[in-house]
Symmetry: C2
Subunit: 151 residues, 2 copies
Amino acid sequence: MEHRIDRIKKQLHSQSYKLTPQREATVRVLLEREEDHLSAEEVYLLVKEKAPEIGLATVYRTLELLSELKIVDKINFGDGVSRYDLRKEGAAHFHHHLVCMECGSVEEIVEDLLDDVEKIVQDDWGFQVKDHRLTFHGVCRQCQKEVAQTS
Amino acid sequence: MEHRIDRIKKQLHSQSYKLTPQREATVRVLLEREEDHLSAEEVYLLVKEKAPEIGLATVYRTLELLSELKIVDKINFGDGVSRYDLRKEGAAHFHHHLVCMECGSVEEIVEDLLDDVEKIVQDDWGFQVKDHRLTFHGVCRQCQKEVAQTS
DNA sequence: TTTATAAATTATAATGATTGTAATTGACAC
DNA sequence: GTGTCAATTACAATCATTATAATTTATAAA
Ligand SMILES: [Zn+2]
Ligand SMILES: [Zn+2]
Ligand SMILES: [Zn+2]
Ligand SMILES: [Zn+2]
């Protein structure tokens, strides 16, 4: 944990930004809830537990900054809110998501399954790929079981 | 064009919805601007040219309805607005997008490049895929040329 | 230690997209 | 014609996000 905070601190410093207490509190929340896909509001409420005086606008600005530095990725699953997702250590690309249409759960796929596809896009369309967003919508293992039982 | 309107009319009827004049005007706009990725507001302004008395809320509701019937797909490229995209005729899945980070242009890929990936997701993760969203962010052919020239 | 300067934050207001509501209209069946 | 129900309109309300001005904090020079 401290190691990762330290790394993020360095990333900020390398662009002459500081790791202020508010930013650190925000990053800690993101680290603690790494499995989740929190909205700005949710991050705000969790940060408030550590640092009650923080303002929502600061959380937005911090998430925006972390987003520019590619420390977090901003993603939208189709409900009205943006969600913020820590990049896995050393990942070149954003990871993929499996969103269950039944229960709303979100699973992550860290493996980059798109190498071949990106090559095609690059070669056949002449499009230089920098990043991607891939989300599958469907039914998770758990919900499949439940459907099988009730039928 | 009339053929496609007709087909959509049937799709609505099959769920006991009607193709009202407002809905038809909205669908016509979507057909005429099929290449674009219009926001609700943009659709509204274009529909207004045909049917000035239409309300914005009706456009939202119509797009929502078309979305439920899988006639259009709702997508979000990360600017604050939802955009609405007609499904290609007979397409089982939503098509893919190439968003240029330089000029903002959006290209479409109709070919389904994800068959292999979906098979992996299905087999290795036990996730039953119903649909997907795939967007590549990068630099389009045109902008690559311009960068090459100025350097 | 003061003073200056810029970055960061707070509190609050404003914006912009989207949704909800109550009243009205229109189509269709009896 | 009257009743019924879906659809629409006009408008208000909500929700996420951004902008603004005032204040604080950190850093560096004097
Ligand atoms: Zn599920
Ligand atoms: Zn994730
Ligand atoms: Zn471009
Ligand atoms: Zn498209």
